[in-house]
């Protein structure tokens, strides 16, 4: 495996980074941002949509800040795990990502913007050639999707990052910057179908940081992850549930989000709201879990079968809610 050659740009500030990006855009040159590189570089080695220019954010110090309410895009996943200011559920989710070596390199921004994954896509060039390529990396052939054949308008590759559902449940806001200015949006609005589009980042735009509301400390919850091995593996399904207690024995507010099940993470607001009405402890959790199972539609492109992942979304939801029951005792 060899990386295709590219020009590496190493700006020392955000402004410089955005300026390089804008110049490359003007010159109609395609480029990628690289943060920790743990997702991008393996994909480059596999010649997956690699670009001739790569802008490294390693020296852009503005992106490194970490506070309880502010998480820079370049904060290492390992810092989240070790940090004492980060919400414990976020730290837990971070601690379950890949392996410690990868967490020491991988970043929050990189994890949020993780490329979607698929059995038919994450393969070597020779391998993909032998299946006549696929829609997500068609090498100019207009190839069909290999997961669901006979439709070439949608990519169904799976979003398998762990942080997004937790951050969604924490009501995080994501902040973007480009040479034309900055903008912000709820993280729940950031993701956009399909598996190729992935999110609302425009060309030349990057994630600078996330902010988390001050009341996050009052939110409790859990993140549950399904995978074959307790290291390395991407989530085959992941469920974050967070709640705010009303001081008595039922939650005041409840949020549920999932990952690893579709091309973008899912935020299940209506299901959570429905469960809150007439809260009835164990029974409510059971029906909430069932409604999450129904809400997600995985496809056959990862290690486990879609029907199993879907059913496990139910089990994971139930388990993530375990804290709700303890509190009500």
């Amino acid at each position: 495996m060899r990386m295709p050659p590219f020009t590496l740009h190493s700006p020392a500030s955000l402004d410089e980074a955005l300026e390089i990006a804008s110049k490359l855009q003007d010159a109609k040159k395609e480029f990628d941002w690289v943060a920790g590189g743990t997702d991008l570089l393996p994909n480059y080695k596999w010649h997956l949509n690699s670009k001739k220019n790569v802008i490294s954010l390693a020296n852009v110090t503005e992106l490194f800040e970490l506070k309880a309410t502010h998480i820079g895009a370049m904060v290492k996943l390992h810092e989240l795990v070790e940090s004492e200011v980060v919400h414990p559920v976020l730290a837990k989710a971070a601690s379950m990502i890949a392996s410690v070596l990868i967490r020491r390199s991988g970043t929050v921004g990189g994890n949020i913007c993780l490329d979607t994954r698929c059995y038919w896509f994450n393969q070597s060039e020779d391998w993909r050639e032998s299946i006549d390529w696929c829609h997500k990396c068609d090498c100019g052939t207009e190839a069909d999707c290999r997961v669901i054949p006979n439709q070439n308008t949608l990519c169904v590759a799976t979003y398998q990052a762990d942080l997004a559902p937790v951050l969604m449940c924490l009501d995080a806001t994501i902040h973007l910057a480009s040479s034309t200015g900055t903008r912000s949006m709820q993280l729940t609005d950031f993701f956009e179908l399909d598996g190729m589009t992935r999110n609302k980042l425009r060309p030349g735009e990057l994630v600078t940081h996330l902010t988390i509301p001050k009341d996050s400390a009052q939110w409790e919850g859990d993140y549950q992850k399904l995978r074959q091995r307790e290291s390395w593996d991407f989530p085959e399904a992941g469920v974050a549930v967070m709640w705010k207690m009303n001081g008595k024995n039922s939650p005041n507010d409840l949020r549920v989000a999932t990952t690893g099940l579709e091309s973008i993470p899912g935020f299940h607001q209506s299901q959570a709201q429905y469960a809150l009405e007439d809260w009835n402890g164990k029974e409510s959790i059971k029906s909430l879990a069932e409604s999450i199972r129904k809400a997600v539609k995985p496809v056959q492109n990862t290690w486990y079968t879609p029907s199993y992942r879907r059913k496990m979304a139910r089990v994971l939801t139930k388990r993530a809610c375990a804290g709700l029951l303890e509190d009500s005792k």
Partner: protein
């Protein structure tokens, strides 16, 4: 003056050695007392010998054998100075890259390399036209070419290769080579391989079986097969599927070829079997063997995956010849999967029967194995799937049908536990089920059905030492079996599994065993006193260099530092069959001992001349040869050596090992023959999550009978490593093929090798049965330890949740499906409401316990009594133990051809016998 203390933690530096000058005889002029605890009782020491004395007892000097010893090459590895295949850098090297087929099965119509040749930096391009000769690991099934000649047989099959100045250029060049294919209809399901095909994947001429893709078929019937149905009161029937697994050794394959100015080829390659590559290179390159030197580099893990001669090794040699420069080819991980040679995906139908006495009155096995595109070791694998489960139990009848078919996948081959692993798993799970049907304890059932030491199996294997009973008893005790089995709560379970494996294949592949030894070791000692050992045994990380060095050191009473092993070059090493079939310790250590005994004799003779002591009274200690009865009388090793060298200079000696004549005469009788067999019993404790189907192995107690642990550290390492590898196969590892036949996970992220988090706590238990023919009593410990972990886990899963799985790996999704099915059957909503199985003994339990007790005494008598009578399988069923039952009993059959009656209703693999070989159907 203060007494000089032994240095602790001393870092070895040149010129400052932790011992006084080598060979000097030590610091003292008098010998140190020998380590009595390491000297057997039969030689006047303190070491107990519950299994009796051994022919090598008098050679034990108490130095290194039986002591935990770090491998002699370990410092090279941990300091990064070990050179593996890809570490070889020769001046002026070119990089070789391979053009691979994108099609499962196709005719190669044309190859146009014009554009690639024009690319600056490309030096040579080679295609199948450059090497028309076939090769293959077994002489009977040579079916591989260096590069495709006319046909490509799987995605990733080699079409052409390129040598260029650097990797980038080579990679660019392979994409510039235009290959025109005519795509043929491929087959992927091994069941389809049994049918006639328009264009079988290989054509074996008059030996071809019908027009099908059957590479090998086996039929075997032994014992009272017709009586099975009448005798059985309990039967187990199961249909297994085992996914294919890959060795996934840390080091990917690599080869460097160089033609030197004398016109000789040196191939540097991490190989388990340099000798076969040596032969195959001579075939393919059409040059005599003496023009080739195969240099085995350090090997970063083999497990069977580096034991065939490989096409990329041929490619490197061909490109180097074409370009006149050294060529290096290194695989990336995906290419390792294209080469494969992993364990065969298999459909195994396993029927076991028990009679009213709780005896195994019949084993009926049918194994269809998926060979992929080439034969590799498949001929042997097809036999091993049957014959290697005829022990350690005494059985009333054995019926085996096996077939290996070609499909358009990367070739399957030999992998740790070759051919025995899958069917062993099926047998051991079957015994668990039979025990449950009979309401007896599965360990008791096994203890009451074991063959005794020095017996013959139903197919005529000569079994010598058997430590199976001790293995079972010790894991039973260590695991707290009686308090746990069938008594743990839902989701927690414990299970037992056993294993039986060859310790060295009895027949060499390439020659008549009477014409040439299996292993040869040369020793040379010059004035410096250091011993140079030449052996062809390939150290693949298992520690073969160390075990040979240990054997020599022990016999000559020298520290390990004085032994240097030269095992790399076929130019200087005696021919060796290589590191497979768990033969190295048994055969090479035996050869090393016999060579060392010759040197030892010369040293003793010289001592007799110097000291005038009678040779019988002399013993060898730490670099001193002295009188047993008066240690003050003696000479240093170096003195004796120099005396012995007076007339002839350096001492040289050669020792060899060959297996004794063994086995019976039926077709296929040689498959599975070995000079000794290893035995093992594991207990695994698991947790199964009923809600997710996830299985986690918590504890393993692993007892293995290795005859004698020459190096207990290595034996324990092998046991723990085997647990890891076997656990991968049973829980998560699988080469998964997608709906269009593509291998979906040719990488280590999606090929799920268990991580440290999945690894249970393993308690290795070494059982030493002191094999009469093994070196110092040793047998193998490299492959056998893998076998029991699979069934132990499967049986523990059943104990935990009451579900028998017959589909490996037991990934959570499969397990969850089975749980759902069971819940539905029992009309249970929540899987947490399931119950795990329980056990109430039947009357048979006490019968079996009594029999086990008698047999335990029988076994002790047989192993300590030197004049024992023959014992043939069948005695347990009332036959005369001294004669093979088939010689006296009409109902006791030996047959290797199916009857018409069988063919009217064959089992799955048995269908292979519906075809007629071309030579027998009157074709021209």
């Amino acid at each position: 003056m203060a007494e000089k203390k032994d240095m602790v933690g001393y870092r070895q530096q040149p010129g400052k050695l932790p011992f006084s000058r080598p060979g000097s005889g030590g610091k003292k002029s008098f010998s140190e007392p020998r380590d009595e605890s390491m000297i057997p009782a039969s030689q006047g020491g303190e070491k107990e010998q519950p299994w009796g004395s051994h022919r090598h007892d008098e050679l034990l000097s108490g130095r290194v054998i039986g002591k935990p010893t770090s491998l002699i090459d370990s410092k090279w590895k941990v300091t990064g100075q070990a050179h593996y295949g890809d570490d070889i850098r020769l001046p002026g090297e070119l990089i070789g890259k391979i053009v691979r087929s994108p099609h499962h099965y196709a005719k190669v119509l044309s190859i146009d390399a014009t554009k690639a040749l024009e690319l600056p930096g490309v030096v040579a391009i080679s295609t199948g036209a450059d090497a028309s000769q076939k090769f293959g690991v077994l002489p009977v099934t040579k079916d591989e070419h260096a590069m495709a000649v006319e046909t490509v047989r799987h995605v990733g099959d080699i079409v052409a290769c390129v040598a260029a100045e650097n990797e980038v250029t080579a990679l660019e060049a392979i994409r510039l080579i235009d290959v025109e294919y005519e795509v043929l209809e491929s087959i992927h399901d091994m069941k389809d391989g049994l049918n006639d095909s328009e264009k079988p994947i290989h054509d074996r001429g008059k030996y071809h079986i019908g027009e099908a893709n059957i590479q090998k078929r086996v039929f075997q019937e032994f014992g009272d097969v017709n009586g099975i149905q009448d005798n059985a009161i309990a039967s187990h029937k199961s249909n297994w599927y085992f996914g294919g697994v890959n060795h996934a050794a840390t080091e990917p394959h690599a080869a460097v070829a160089h033609w030197d100015p004398s016109g000789r080829l040196t191939l540097y390659t991490p190989q388990q079997v340099p000798h076969y590559v040596h032969r195959a290179l001579a075939d393919v390159l059409e040059i005599p063997m003496h023009q080739i030197n195969v240099h085995r580099t350090f090997v970063g893990g083999g497990f069977g995956g580096k034991s065939d001669p490989f096409p990329h090794e041929m490619c490197a040699a061909i490109l180097a010849r074409k370009s006149g420069r050294p060529v290096r080819i290194t695989f990336d991980r995906e290419e390792v999967y294209w080469l494969n040679r992993g364990r065969h995906p298999s459909h195994i139908e396993m029927n076991l029967h028990a009679d009213s006495e709780g005896r195994l009155c019949g084993i009926e096995t049918d194994a269809l194995i998926d060979g992929g595109a080439f034969a590799s070791f498949g001929h042997v694998t097809t036999y091993y799937n049957g014959v290697l489960h005829t022990a350690p139990y005494e059985i009333g009848a054995f019926h085996y049908t096996g077939a290996r078919v070609w499909t358009n996948k990367p070739a399957s081959g030999a992998m740790r536990g070759h051919g025995a692993v899958n069917s062993r798993c099926a047998v051991e799970v079957g015994i668990d089920d039979l025990s449950e049907q009979l309401s007896v304890d599965p360990i008791t059932f096994r203890l009451a059905n074991l063959l005794p030491p020095h017996s013959a199996t139903i197919t005529g294997f000569r079994v010598t030492s058997i430590g199976m009973r001790e293995c079972l008893e010790r894991v039973k005790e260590a695991s707290g079996w009686d308090e746990k089995f069938r008594q743990m709560p839902l989701g927690k379970g414990i299970g037992i599994g056993c294993g039986f494996f060859i310790s060295g294949s009895g027949l060499p592949i390439h020659w008549d065993p009477n014409k040439f030894p299996h292993a040869t070791v040369h020793l040379k000692i010059d004035m410096d006193g250091g011993v140079t050992v030449h052996t062809g045994a390939a150290d693949i990380g298992q520690g073969s260099d160390t075990v040979v060095a240990q054997s020599v050191a022990e016999v000559l009473g020298l520290p390990l530092d004085m032994i240097r092993v030269r095992s790399r070059d076929t130019d200087t090493s005696p021919v060796d069959l290589g590191s497979y079939s768990s033969r190295v310790t048994f055969m090479n250590a035996n050869a090393a001992i016999s060579a060392a005994m010759k040197i030892r004799q010369e040293l003793i003779d010289a001592t007799v001349i110097i000291t005038d002591a009678p040779a019988k009274k002399l013993v060898i200690g730490d670099r001193r040869i002295f009188r047993k009865d008066d240690p003050a009388v003696g000479v240093s090793y170096l003195e004796a050596l120099h005396k012995a060298q007076e007339e002839k200079g350096a001492l040289v000696a050669s020792g060899a090992y060959r297996t004794p004549p063994m086995g019976r005469a039926h077709k296929g009788a040689a498959a599975g023959l070995a000079p000794a067999y290893s035995f093992s019993a594991y207990v695994a404790e698991v947790e199964v999550d009923p809600e997710t189907g996830q299985t986690k192995v918590q504890e393993v107690w692993a007892a293995h009978d290795c005859g004698k642990a020459l190096n207990p550290l290595s034996v324990k390492g092998q046991i723990i490593g085997s647990c890891h590898m076997g656990m991968g196969q049973v829980l998560s590892e699988e080469m998964r093929y997608g709906r269009n036949g593509h291998l979906m996970n040719p990488d280590l992220l999606d090929y799920k090798i268990p991580s440290i988090h999945e690894m249970p706590n393993v308690t290795p238990i070494i059982v030493e049965s002191n094999d009469p023919e093994g070196p110092f009593g040793a047998k193998e410990a490299g492959e056998g330890p893998l076998l029991p972990i699979l069934p132990a886990v499967c049986n523990a899963v059943y104990d935990a949740i009451g579900i028998r799985t017959h589909n490996l790996p037991i990934t959570p999704d499969k397990m969850f499906k089975a749980i759902e099915k069971k819940c539905k059957l029992l009309s249970i909503d929540d899987p947490l409401d399931l119950t795990s199985p329980s056990l109430e003994y039947s009357e048979l339990q006490s019968t079996l316990e009594a029999r086990a007790k008698n047999h335990a005494q029988r076994d002790i008598d047989r192993r300590l009594n030197e004049n024992i009578e023959a014992y043939h399988n069948g005695a347990l069923f009332g036959k005369d133990p001294t004669i093979p039952p088939d010689e006296v009993d009409e109902n006791w059959t030996v047959s290797v051809l199916p009857s018409k009656e069988y063919l009217s209703n064959p089992r799955l693999a048995g269908k292979a016998w519906l075809h007629t070989e071309r030579r027998h159907r009157g074709d021209d």
